[in-house]
Symmetry: C2
Subunit: 329 residues, 2 copies
Amino acid sequence: MKYVTLKDIAEIAGVSINTVSRALHDKNDIGIETKLRIRAITEELGYIPDQTAARLRTKKKQTIGVIITHMNNSFYAHILQGIHDAVSRLGYTMIALGSNENLDEEQRALVSLKANRVAGLIIVPSQDLINSLDFDRINVPHITIVRKGRLNTQSYFITDSHQSGVLVAGRFLDCGRTSPGYIGFDAMVSCNKDRLVGYKKTLEQSCIALPKEATIHCGSDMQSAYDAAKQLLKKKRDIDALFVYNDYMAIGVLRALHDLKIKVPDSISVIGHDDIDEASMLVPALSTVRVPKYSLGYESASSLIHLIEKKDSFSKSVLNTPELIVRET
Amino acid sequence: MKYVTLKDIAEIAGVSINTVSRALHDKNDIGIETKLRIRAITEELGYIPDQTAARLRTKKKQTIGVIITHMNNSFYAHILQGIHDAVSRLGYTMIALGSNENLDEEQRALVSLKANRVAGLIIVPSQDLINSLDFDRINVPHITIVRKGRLNTQSYFITDSHQSGVLVAGRFLDCGRTSPGYIGFDAMVSCNKDRLVGYKKTLEQSCIALPKEATIHCGSDMQSAYDAAKQLLKKKRDIDALFVYNDYMAIGVLRALHDLKIKVPDSISVIGHDDIDEASMLVPALSTVRVPKYSLGYESASSLIHLIEKKDSFSKSVLNTPELIVRET
DNA sequence: CCATGGTACATTAACGTTAATGTTTACACT
DNA sequence: AGTGTAAACATTAACGTTAATGTACCATGG
């Protein structure tokens, strides 16, 4: 409740506040025995420095803000872990907030993080890219991850979504599937768009069409995906291969197929995206596209901090290469 | 990069810093036209108050720290959402960190949060309760959730784990199961212990034993649960009912049973705990015990803030009643 | 013996706020 | 005219730090 301050320590030690500060920071201009005495008192009182006051003074902010879309998708849990590890290794702390794919919450999160004077931001831009954050005006160092931002101008760390589409299409072609479908997320989201393009083009190179009525875009929760899958397969029963935007949604899709009594993978093959923890444990185990979640977080945070500290005018865009993981679907 | 300050606004408006502050806070002692002029300038410059500086001055900290064990279990995502909503409705912000069920990380998280001068803490105590946080020494208002703390003295918001065990045992008895098993988490964790006691006692009241070799304790990740289930069922093949510590682990257990070619629920019935999003979408859909995740977070955060602001010497302990959700396992 | 320089401190100021206290001006009232 | 008072501002101080600057003391050297 009442925190110990430098002043408390100074009074007990009978020295000035500044001397205590110097003693704790191993600065010069301090006698060895004074230093040890101060250290002992500090230890005893359980002093924990007030980082907020220190930051106010030094103008080094040392906090990285993170805005992700979904707190309940374990895909992001791994990314957060990566960010957290990188950030704390470099002496920073992390504040993570969720936008729930909602522009209002995204804006509120942004304001909250700026009010807390974060040194930089890592953002997964929310669904509505037309109206999403105007990155030019953020005026805090920032990068987007997972998805490109609205203007595609700022730095981003994403995976090669186009390549994901290519991989999945290739797999379906190898299996001799002829009637592919796609269950995607909001059509404007960059990674959704890129995946779809890579998927469709690759299919078309082998003269397999992806008709408009075989693709559907829905919300990013399991239930929406469940509903979308049912709707899609009622409309177009002959689909024998389904690429789903992410594994989380694919869980709903698999359930829908089960309820429709469509056998996976005999009647229909399903491939998700992300390779979340659940994927290998599902029955049947979900085939998917693996992306380096942890390192995506770790590397993006490391780069952001590098940018902040070195003040490079960096505009780095990293494309991680995805990897197809074939399991049972 | 460079944030607008009150000073900037004051210079443009040609007034003192304090006048700007009063204008923005709707204080008295300010002329209406001056106020409007200042507001206009503020708006134009996109001023966002520095909460850290304000908190330093007012000594109102307005941040709640949260330490949870698992970032990647969606059970906690819902709790966090509840905390976040409660906290922000009351004008606070939230910093959430994960301990990964690890004492060191838990300690580091605690220090980090204290260094950021949080007003209060919501903690899911980590696995190793013997050595876990010494809550008496935290000296910041705090409550534990989900699990009791080491000394069981401080305030906590948990669900009635004993009752969970009773419900599951009752269900197994109703189905005529005679050889129950338990796949649990660390034996010292309060909710694990309580669930097991309720489960075992209820079974024994109907003269069904829960032998030692039918219970196993393992790590809280899917893979550990998968391994544990395999091990348990190789050792004791006749188990026909399995209560699993949580749904997340149950996903691994279901997969293990599938790999062992044991039919669910024909040969063995499985009930998890938490009712996470995935539960209803699994094939077969997981029967489970539902707990009010969101409201657990919401209510605990509301209470904590009440405690902080009213300075009640509160020692509130809330037991939420769990609810059995019967699905297909 | 006094200037020089180093050691080990203290003092002061600043970060961006907010709260308490001062100050100026205008105007009403006796 | 002189006093009181209220409105509308400014000034100052404080929150807990850290950085820059100041100072007392002692030892050293020419």
